[in-house]
């Protein structure tokens, strides 16, 4: 048995699909690759495969992680070579490494994610009032409570959860691209609770109210995932061989 952890990027071409679609995409690519996959037990066996954290629709990413189990010894180089041939344009395997089979499942390690949101306008002539955005963000962060609707596991009961504590950092960064507004979001994610960047941006748009320009979109990008290391955040990809 081999457990391989890999690192991948999701580019523009492939960003419009959901987490479940991504899971299916990888599993089908793995089946095509001919690699000796290990399957789960039970009546409907599926490849033992995980992605570290769901990536929302319409979000690109640079530094994502996944893991897969094989029933035989597989060298990471062979894994990369064979899987690469089966992946569509826009999905790039970067590195792979054999990891301890007993280590906790990859998704359970994720505790935060850094996002970068850019404002794009459908027409470049349209001006965006950055100051309005800055003050809207300030108002949003000043709130003690930001309620997000959550439904229970079976979708029957609906409750509201305060997600304000899950917004670790949020700030506009103007110096990189002068003509573009870039918002950085460090958000808690994973099993101990979290908030989706899409929800935070919706709340920000809501704060803007009438000042929200029409014909603009947020272009979201996940820079990296983090794990908790005795209270401080470390990039997940750095510690992938725990």
């Amino acid at each position: 048995m081999t457990r391989i952890c890999f690192n991948y990027a999701r580019k523009e071409q492939i960003k419009y699909i959901s987490h479940l679609d991504m899971m299916r995409l990888f599993q089908r690519a793995l089946r095509r690759s001919g690699l000796p996959l290990a399957y789960s037990e039970g009546f409907s066996p599926h490849p033992r495969f995980n992605l570290a954290a769901p990536l929302p629709v319409d979000v690109t990413a640079d530094d994502e992680l996944g893991e897969v189990f094989f029933k035989e010894e597989i060298a990471p180089e062979e894994f990369i070579l064979k899987l690469k041939k089966q992946l569509p344009e826009g999905l790039e395997i970067k590195r792979a490494q054999a990891v301890d089979k007993q280590a906790p499942a990859l998704p359970s390690l994720v505790s935060a994610a850094l996002y970068q949101a850019r404002l794009v306008t459908v027409s470049p002539q349209l001006e965006v009032n950055i100051e309005a955005y800055r003050s809207a963000l300030e108002r949003l962060l000043d709130k003690e409570e930001i309620l997000a609707p959550r439904s229970s596991r079976k979708g029957k009961r609906k409750t509201n959860v305060n997600v304000r504590p899950y917004i670790n950092e949020a700030y506009f960064n103007g110096d990189e691209h002068e003509d573009q507004v870039v918002l950085k979001l460090l958000l808690q994610t994973g099993s101990r609770g979290g908030v989706s960047p899409v929800f935070v941006l919706e709340q920000l748009d809501f704060e803007l109210g009438e000042k929200r320009p029409s014909h603009v979109n947020w272009n979201l990008h996940r820079v990296r995932l983090y794990r908790d290391c005795n209270g401080s955040l470390k990039p997940l990809s750095e510690g992938m061989c725990i």
């Binding site: 071409q13 569509p88 794009v120």
Partner: protein, 599 residues
């Protein structure tokens, strides 16, 4: 200046399920447009999830794209949110592979699977900025072609299509396309090109025929051009083993309706159910050899990575030595944990045995279509299963561990009386009691009741559809009956949608203005209950002086000329008459009143 690409990128961020429009799936074929002689778009007038489940698309995609000089790309109906944005930003409808406007293709081929997608056809043409009517198209407009089951009665669509191809196009299409490009290169005018194409086997050019009427009554087609054949005969593939077989179909990112690998065991169906158009238009039965199936099954899984392989046909369990085939497939594919499935099951012990063999895991439910609840009515429609067979096979299924059943019935069948309708409820009651004795667990029963739509080229093509009032009354009988029957879930089809389907299934060219009007007023996705707006259709019929009832409720006589009589599926009309007469022999006249004590 913003390029179309930038605008599109922006739009994709605004719509629900953007992957419907992006293409780039595994196995999608991308060819440089300038590197080929002929560019065709396959247009499916429904959502991506529906169209990508269509096996015909995969076959033709292979049939065209395997030619180095040709390319085929796909386009589906944009959902209403995308349509709104395309119109707002004045962006023409584009293909999935190259994102090029449809207008830049040489040929657009529409797949006509069901009548309620016709407004989507017009909508797609309009979004592509192509004139709706063939007479308004100029030399540089793409050739608009239709195919699929509805091409056997395409008259309501006649003014909008340059030509139709009748039957199975996978072998003849490349030749028709080459013929088209040759004529174009020779500099012939559009009308002349289309007229010359009418000499190809299976090609129907509606503009070369004039429907003749005596008063209100259709009396036949007059040919405007001697080259056009009097009778257009469908094309058939002779040998399925050598016909194009989609071994590497595009693998969708989105979950589609049928998201799995497919091998087609045989074409046609030997059962001859009298209501079933597919059974008649796909005659005769032609099988793929077991060797060929086994070999291609492996290739498809190699190429797609699917976790499921569906063994499709109109009646898959009729394939000889199916069990052996399944065993062989299993030994080839079990290492990769690919499971096989059968789409349709007959109510017999052999089918249950096969279903049991194929199924691992939670046995949630099995689907069957008894169609009618009484043996008498099943004989009328030639669905020859006995009540005993129903009980035995469902009993076997329960013993094998299945937890429930989905049962499909129809109402409004010819020679149906209230007893037959009431019997649907009674049969389910008897089944429920039977299950109680046989299984300790709860067995769920889902009953879905559709309304019969008489289709062309079947023995029931002369039969009227039941009136909407009468359908509603019979549905009331069912609703009342099932309300008292606990543990059975009952659902029914909207009588108005079935009515509209019948109007177009039996329609002629006089319907075209009503169709165009309905589309103009906003009708889209008429097969989807959430979009279907019957009041708009009523207004469209009124405005264009068309009485839908005259089409749906009319009983044709044998000597009458039918709007589709010039289009042959290879079955002689006399044979259909004989089948029709056989079906009704010994039937009592209609009009028995409803007896509430029956329930």
């Amino acid at each position: 200046m913003q390029t179309q690409k930038d605008i599109l990128k922006y739009l994709l961020g605004q719509v629900w399920k953007p992957a419907r429009y992006t293409g780039n799936e595994w196995n999608a074929v991308k060819k440089e447009h300038s590197s080929v002689d002929l560019r065709m778009a396959f247009a499916f007038p429904d959502l991506y999830e529906v169209g990508m489940s269509n096996h015909g698309l995969k076959i033709l995609y292979e049939s065209i794209n395997r030619n180095p000089g040709m390319l085929m790309e796909r386009v589906f109906s944009p959902a209403t949110d995308m349509e709104e944005l395309l119109r707002k930003y004045n962006l023409p409808l584009f293909s999935l592979e190259s994102h090029k406007p449809l207008k830049e293709f040489d040929i657009i081929g529409f797949s006509l699977q069901y009548e309620l997608s016709y407004t989507n056809v017009l909508n797609m043409l309009d979004l592509a900025d192509i004139p709706l009517r063939t007479e308004d198209r100029k030399g540089d407009h793409p050739l608009i072609v239709g195919g699929g089951p509805c091409a056997f009665n395409p008259e309501p669509l006649a003014p909008f299509f340059d030509l139709f191809v009748l039957g199975e196009a996978e072998e003849c299409l490349p030749a028709i396309l080459t013929g088209y490009m040759d004529l174009k290169r020779h500099g012939y005018e559009r009308n002349e090109i289309i007229a010359r194409l009418s000499t190809f086997e299976g090609v129907y050019v509606p503009s070369l025929y004039n429907p003749a009427y005596s008063g209100e009554e259709f009396i036949g087609m007059e040919r405007k051009d001697d080259r056009a054949p009097e009778m257009i005969r469908k094309v058939t593939v002779e040998n399925l083993d050598t016909a194009p077989f989609p071994k590497a179909p595009p693998v969708p990112y989105l979950q589609t309706i049928h998201d799995r690998a497919v091998i087609e065991l045989f074409r046609g169906c030997g059962r001859g159910c009298r209501f079933c158009q597919a059974g008649y238009i796909f005659k005769p039965v032609r099988r793929r050899s077991r060797d060929k199936l086994q070999q291609t099954a492996k290739e498809i899984i190699d190429n797609t990575g699917y976790e499921e392989l569906s063994l499709v046909s109109l009646s898959s369990t009729d394939y000889p030595h199916l069990e052996e085939l399944i065993n062989n497939l299993d030994s080839d594919l079990s290492a990769r944990k690919v499971k096989c499935s059968l789409p349709s099951l007959r109510l017999d012990s052999y089918s249950i045995k096969l279903a049991d063999k194929l199924h691992q895991g939670r046995k949630s439910s099995l689907t069957f279509a008894p169609e009618a609840a009484t043996e008498r009515l099943r004989k009328v429609i030639k669905k020859n299963i006995t009540e005993e067979e129903i009980f035995t096979s469902l009993g076997d299924a329960i013993d094998a561990g299945w937890q429930g059943f989905k049962l499909y019935f129809m109402i409004g069948l010819p020679a149906e009386h209230d007893e037959d309708v009431v019997e649907i409820v009674n049969l389910c009651r008897r089944l429920r009691e039977y299950f109680k004795g046989r299984a300790k667990r709860k067995i769920s029963i889902n009953v879905s009741v559709a309304t019969f739509v008489p289709k062309s080229h079947t023995p029931f093509q002369w039969e009227p559809q039941l009136s909407m009032d009468e359908v509603n009354r019979r549905q009331d009988i069912l609703r009342t009956g099932f309300k008292k029957l606990r543990g059975v879930d009952f659902s029914w089809h909207d009588a108005r949608a079935s009515f509209l389907e019948a109007v177009f299934a039996r329609g002629d060219r006089k319907l075209a203005p009503a169709l165009e009007h309905a589309w103009q007023m906003g009708c889209r996705f008429d097969g989807w209950s959430e979009y279907f707006d019957f009041s708009l259709w009523q207004r469209a019929f009124q405005k264009t002086a068309v009485r839908g009832e005259d089409y749906a409720y009319r009983r044709f006589s044998y000597d009458q000329c039918l709007p589709w009589d010039h289009l042959s599926c290879g079955v002689d009309k006399n044979m259909l008459i004989a089948e029709h007469q056989k079906s009704l022999a010994g039937e009592k006249p209609e009009g028995v009143t409803h007896d509430p004590d029956l329930l």
